[in-house]
C-alpha cells in the first residue's frame, strides 16, 4: 500500500498535536453539523477517572452540583451559569436555560461527566496522559449524532494501542430497548461502470481504472462485471448519491486533466425587455449630461418616510428583522435617499450636480407569492446655486421623447416632499407614474444637503 511512513503504527496515546487536533475537531463539529451545539453536543472524558454504567438524565438546576471544567470549586448549575453568562459559553446557555430540568450525564458513583450542551466536569478532564477515552454525544437529531460520533471515532481511533480499536457501548433507552453505539457501519453500493464516468467527462477510463481512482479516495472499490462495487465507510457520510462518488472519481483523476469540450448546443439569446430598455434609458440620461450613481437597496425607515416628510410611507416598505444598524431596516421604496446621500457626500464637485440612477425599488404587494414586488424606477437629481426645476422638467420631456411617448402630462401636487407650489405628478394616460419638483428645505436638511435640489422619479415598467 501507499503513503504509510516508517513510524506506523503511531505511538499510542495523545501527543500535544493530536490532543489539540482532537479538541479542534470537536469545536468544528459543534459549530457546523452541531449548529453551535443546538443540535449536537460532544463530551469526551478520561475513562480511567470514571466508572460505568453511565446515566443520561435530567435534574432541576439547584440539585446539580459539581466542579465544572477549568473552575476551582464545586458549584450548583445556577451558580456556574452566572459565571458562564460572562464568558464564551454564554451562547449555549439559552439552549436549555428555559427548561425546568437540565440534562446531566453521571457515572455509577454520581460523578458528573457533563451538563450537555454547556460544560464538562473537571473530574473527567482529558490530558496528555489519558489512556482511555469515553465519548458521549447528546443531540436533538439522531442521525447527526451518529455522524458526529462516527467522525470522531474514525479520526482518532488510529492512536489506539491496536490502531482503529473502538469499544462499543450498549445504550438502554427509556423504553427498555437497547442498541449498540457507535454504528461505524459500512455499506456496499453498486454502480454501473459506464455511467460512473459520464459526469466527470473522463471517457477513456476502464472499470479497473475507475476502481483504482475510488480506492485512492478511500472508497474501496472493485470491479464486478459491468458494475463497480464501492464500500462506503463510516467516515463518508457525505456520500448521499451516485454524484458524490462521481465527484471523487473526477478529483482523483484531477480536474485539470479532464479534456475540455464545448457543448454543441445552438441557441439564440433573448434579453429581458426591462433590462434592455433600462440600459437604453441610462444611455440617454448620460447623453443629457447626467452622471450615473449606484446606491444601496437597504436603508433606514426614516429615509423612506419621515426624512421625506411622508411619515405614513413606511407602511408600504418591506421590513428587515434584526437589522444590525439603522442602514438595514427596510428595502428602499424610492431611489431618492441614495441620490440625496450621494449629493451630500460630494460637496466638492463643480456645480451644478446632475445625477441619475435606474434601479429597482421594492414595495409590499398582497397579490404576489412573497407579498412583495420589484419596480424599475428612473430617478434624476439637479443640485446647484439655483434649484434647476426647469432642467429636470426638460429632462422628463427629453426622456419621454426618447421613449416615443406623447400621452403624458404633469399636474401640480401638494405632496409634502416638495417645496409648496413646486411639485407635480407625472401622468401617463390617466395614471400617475411618478413625480418631479423642488425638494422641500426640510428634506434637504434631513439629508444634510446644502443646495437647492430638483428631482424627477418615475416608474419605467409601463414603458417596457
Amino acid at each position: 500500500s501507499s503513503g504509510i511512513n516508517a513510524e506506523w503504527p503511531l505511538r499510542p496515546g495523545l501527543t500535544e498535536d493530536s490532543y489539540n487536533s482532537f479538541i479542534l475537531l470537536q469545536d468544528k463539529l459543534h459549530q457546523n453539523i452541531g449548529r453551535e451545539r443546538s443540535l449536537v453536543s460532544i463530551g469526551t472524558h478520561d475513562l480511567d477517572t470514571i466508572q460505568g454504567p453511565f446515566k443520561y438524565h435530567a435534574l432541576p438546576p439547584p440539585e446539580i452540583k459539581f466542579q465544572p471544567l477549568n473552575q476551582d470549586t464545586v458549584m450548583t448549575a445556577p451558580q456556574m451559569f452566572d459565571i458562564f453568562r460572562k464568558n464564551y459559553l454564554k451562547p449555549y446557555l439559552q439552549i436549555i436555560e428555559s427548561s425546568p430540568v437540565y440534562p446531566l450525564i453521571t457515572d455509577v458513583n454520581g460523578t458528573v461527566l457533563s451538563l450537555p450542551p454547556v460544560i464538562n466536569g473537571n473530574h473527567s478532564k482529558i490530558s496528555l496522559s489519558t489512556r482511555n477515552i469515553f465519548i458521549e454525544v447528546t443531540a436533538k437529531d439522531r442521525k447527526k449524532a451518529g455522524i458526529v460520533l462516527d467522525t470522531i471515532c474514525g479520526a482518532f481511533s488510529e492512536y489506539c494501542t491496536t490502531p482503529h480499536t473502538i469499544e462499543a457501548v450498549e445504550i438502554v433507552q427509556a423504553d427498555g430497548s437497547t442498541f449498540s453505539s457507535p454504528k461505524m457501519g459500512s455499506r456496499i453500493e453498486e454502480y454501473d461502470s459506464a455511467e460512473l464516468c459520464l459526469k466527470s467527462g473522463i471517457k477513456t477510463a476502464t472499470p479497473e481504472q475507475l476502481a483504482d481512482l475510488l480506492t485512492k479516495m478511500c472508497l474501496r472499490a472493485s470491479v464486478a462485471g459491468e458494475k463497480l462495487k464501492v464500500e462506503i465507510g463510516p467516515t463518508r457520510h457525505d456520500i448521499l448519491h451516485q454524484c458524490d462518488v462521481e465527484e471523487d472519481i473526477a478529483i482523483a483523476y484531477g480536474y485539470n486533466n479532464i479534456p475540455q469540450v464545448l457543448p454543441d448546443l445552438y441557441t439564440i439569446a433573448v434579453e429581458q425587455d426591462v433590462n434592455k430598455l433600462s440600459d437604453s434609458v441610462r444611455e440617454e440620461l448620460a447623453r443629457c449630461g447626467f452622471t450615473e450613481v449606484l446606491t444601496f437597496s437597504l436603508c433606514s425607515r426614516d429615509d423612506v418616510s419621515v426624512n421625506l416628510r411622508i411619515p405614513e410611507a413606511v407602511g408600504g416598505a418591506v421590513q428587515i428583522s434584526n437589522p444590525k444598524t439603522f442602514e438595514f431596516q427596510v428595502v428602499r421604496t424610492t431611489l431618492l435617499p441614495g441620490m440625496l446621500k450621494t449629493a451630500s457626500c460630494n460637496r466638492n464637485m463643480p456645480l451644478p450636480l446632475k445625477l441619475f440612477e435606474v434601479s429597482d425599488i421594492v414595495v409590499k404587494d398582497t397579490l404576489t407569492e412573497t407579498g412583495t414586488k420589484n419596480y424599475r424606477y428612473v430617478c434624476a437629481l439637479f443640485a446647484g446655486k439655483t434649484s434647476g426645476f426647469e432642467v429636470v422638467h426638460g429632462l422628463l420631456d427629453r426622456v419621454m421623447l426618447m421613449l416615443d411617448v406623447k400621452d403624458y402630462h404633469i399636474q401640480q401636487t401638494s405632496d409634502p416632499m416638495f417645496f409648496p407650489g413646486r411639485g407635480a405628478d407625472i401622468i401617463l394616460g390617466t395614471k400617475k407614474i411618478g413625480h418631479l419638483g423642488i425638494l422641500h428645505p426640510e428634506v434637504l436638511e434631513k439629508f444634510d444637503v446644502t443646495l437647492p435640489c430638483s428631482v424627477l422619479e418615475f416608474n419605467l415598467d409601463p414603458f417596457v
Binding site: L240, Q260, S297, M349, K373
Partner: protein, 392 residues
C-alpha cells in the same frame, strides 16, 4: 627681529617703537587696477570681484540694438487675434490679421458631460459576453425570495449554517409566503427527497419544516431564480435544452469590511442539456473567461450544498502576475433536478462570480465603498475609462 605690516611697506623693530620704511618703492595695487579699469584695459576677474565686493566699482550692462523695419512694419497699433471668428470670414479680414501663438502644451477645455457608472459598464460587458454566447437572460427583478426557492428546492438542508440569521436577511414584514404558493406536487417531492431520499439518494433524514420554507428573505443568490427557471423547464411536455444567465443584486448578512458589503451583484450562467459533463463545463468556462482576457485556467475541488461535482475556478492574472480565484462552478445535484421533472440524462452545468471583484481588480480599487454607495467619488466616475474587459 622685524615685524612688518600686512602690506609689507612698513616695518617695526620688535623691541622698539620706531616704524621705518621696509621697501624703497610702494605699489598701490588697487589704484593701478582702478586706473586700468578707467582706461578700459583688461584686468583679472578676481580683482574685479574683490573691488565689487568693496563697492569701489560696480558693473553696468549696456545693450545695443540695431533696428530696421520688419515685414509687418506699420505706423498704427494692432492687437494680435486669439481666434478666427465668423465676422472675419464674412469680411475677409482674416487675411490681414495677426494671430497669437496657441499654447499647445496646455490642456484643452474640460468637457462637461454625463457618464455611466463603472460597475454598470462592466455589467454591460458581461451581459454582452453571455448574449454573444447565445445565453437567454432570466427575469431577476425580485429581491425578496422565500426559503423554499432560495434553499429547499436546491436540496440545501434546513439546518445548514447558511440559513442562519448570521448570513441571511430575514424579512419581518411580510414575514411568510403562504404554503399554497408552492406547487403542490413539487412541494411533496422536495419534502420527500430531504427527509427520506429517493431518486437514488439517501436524503438527509431529518424532520423538514414547512415554516422554514415559508420564511421570506432577501435572496442570498440569484440561483433562486435559476431554480425557478429549471422547475418551469422540467414542467414542460418536451425537454428543450437551454442556456440561461443573470446579473443582479444579492444580499448577505455577513461581517462588513473593505471588500464586503451587505449587497453585491452576482453573475450566473447555466446550461441544461443531455449528457453534459465536467468536460463541457471546463470548455464553456475557458470560452467565457477568454472573453475577459483570461486564457489560463485551473480548477480545484470545492463544496456547494447544491452542486456535485463542484469546482473553484482560478486564473493566471497577467497584470497581477499571480493565480487568483475568479469564480465557482459545478453540476447541480440530481436531488434538485429530478423532482422538477427534468429527464434523468439531463445535466445542468453552472457557474457564478461576483461583478464587484473583477471590477475592483480591473480599476485598482481597494475599498468597495469607493465603487458602490453614496461615498463614491463622482470625479472617479467621470474619469473612468471605456470598459474593455479583454484588454488588461
Amino acid at each position: 627681529a622685524v615685524v612688518s605690516t600686512q602690506s609689507g611697506h612698513y616695518g617695526r623693530d620688535e623691541n622698539g617703537p620706531t616704524i621705518f620704511r621696509a621697501v624703497e618703492e610702494t605699489t598701490d595695487v588697487v589704484k593701478d587696477v582702478l586706473s586700468n579699469i578707467q582706461s578700459k584695459n583688461p584686468v583679472p576677474d578676481k580683482s574685479v570681484q574683490d573691488l565689487k565686493k568693496r563697492k569701489l566699482i560696480s558693473s553696468s550692462v549696456t545693450k545695443f540694438y540695431s533696428v530696421s523695419k520688419g515685414e509687418g512694419f506699420r505706423t498704427d497699433i494692432e492687437k494680435p487675434e486669439a481666434d478666427l471668428t465668423a465676422d472675419m470670414l464674412q469680411d475677409g479680414t482674416w487675411k490681414s490679421k495677426n494671430f497669437k501663438d496657441y499654447n499647445f502644451t496646455a490642456k484643452g477645455a474640460p468637457v462637461v458631460g454625463g457618464c455611466l457608472h463603472p460597475l454598470l459598464k462592466v455589467r454591460t460587458e458581461f451581459r454582452r459576453i453571455f448574449l454573444d454566447m447565445g445565453f437567454t437572460e432570466m427575469p431577476t427583478n425580485q429581491f425578496v425570495e422565500n426559503g423554499f426557492w432560495n434553499f429547499d428546492a436546491l436540496f440545501q438542508p434546513q439546518q445548514h449554517p447558511a440559513r442562519d440569521a448570521h448570513d441571511t436577511f430575514f424579512i419581518s414584514d411580510p414575514q411568510m409566503t403562504p404554503k399554497e404558493a408552492f406547487p403542490p406536487g413539487y412541494l411533496e417531492k422536495v419534502i420527500e427527497v430531504h427527509e427520506k431520499g429517493g431518486y437514488g439518494s439517501t436524503g438527509y433524514n431529518y424532520d423538514w419544516k414547512i415554516e422554514e420554507a415559508q420564511k421570506n428573505i432577501l435572496r442570498t443568490h440569484t440561483t433562486a431564480v435559476s431554480t425557478r427557471m429549471l422547475y418551469k423547464l422540467g414542467q414542460q411536455e418536451k425537454f428543450v435544452p437551454t442556456k440561461l444567465f443573470s446579473i443582479d443584486r444579492v444580499f448577505r448578512n455577513e461581517t462588513l469590511d473593505a471588500t464586503h458589503l451587505a449587497e453585491f451583484h452576482q453573475i450566473e450562467g447555466l446550461i441544461a442539456d443531455r449528457n453534459l459533463s465536467l468536460g463541457h463545463l471546463i470548455g464553456v468556462l475557458h470560452a467565457f473567461f477568454k472573453k475577459l482576457g483570461l486564457e489560463k485556467l485551473k480548477f480545484k475541488p470545492a463544496y456547494n450544498p447544491y452542486t456535485e461535482p463542484s469546482m473553484e475556478i482560478f486564473s493566471y492574472h497577467p497584470g497581477l502576475k499571480k493565480w487568483v480565484e475568479v469564480g465557482n462552478s459545478g453540476i447541480f445535484r440530481p436531488e434538485m433536478l429530478l423532482p422538477m421533472g427534468l429527464p434523468r440524462d439531463v445535466n445542468v452545468i453552472a457557474w457564478g462570480l461576483s461583478l464587484e471583484r473583477p471590477t475592483m481588480i480591473k480599476y485598482g480599487i481597494n475599498n468597495i465603498r469607493e465603487l458602490i454607495g453614496p461615498k463614491v467619488n463622482l470625479n472617479m466616475v467621470q474619469a473612468n475609462p471605456i470598459c474593455r474587459l479583454d484588454k488588461n
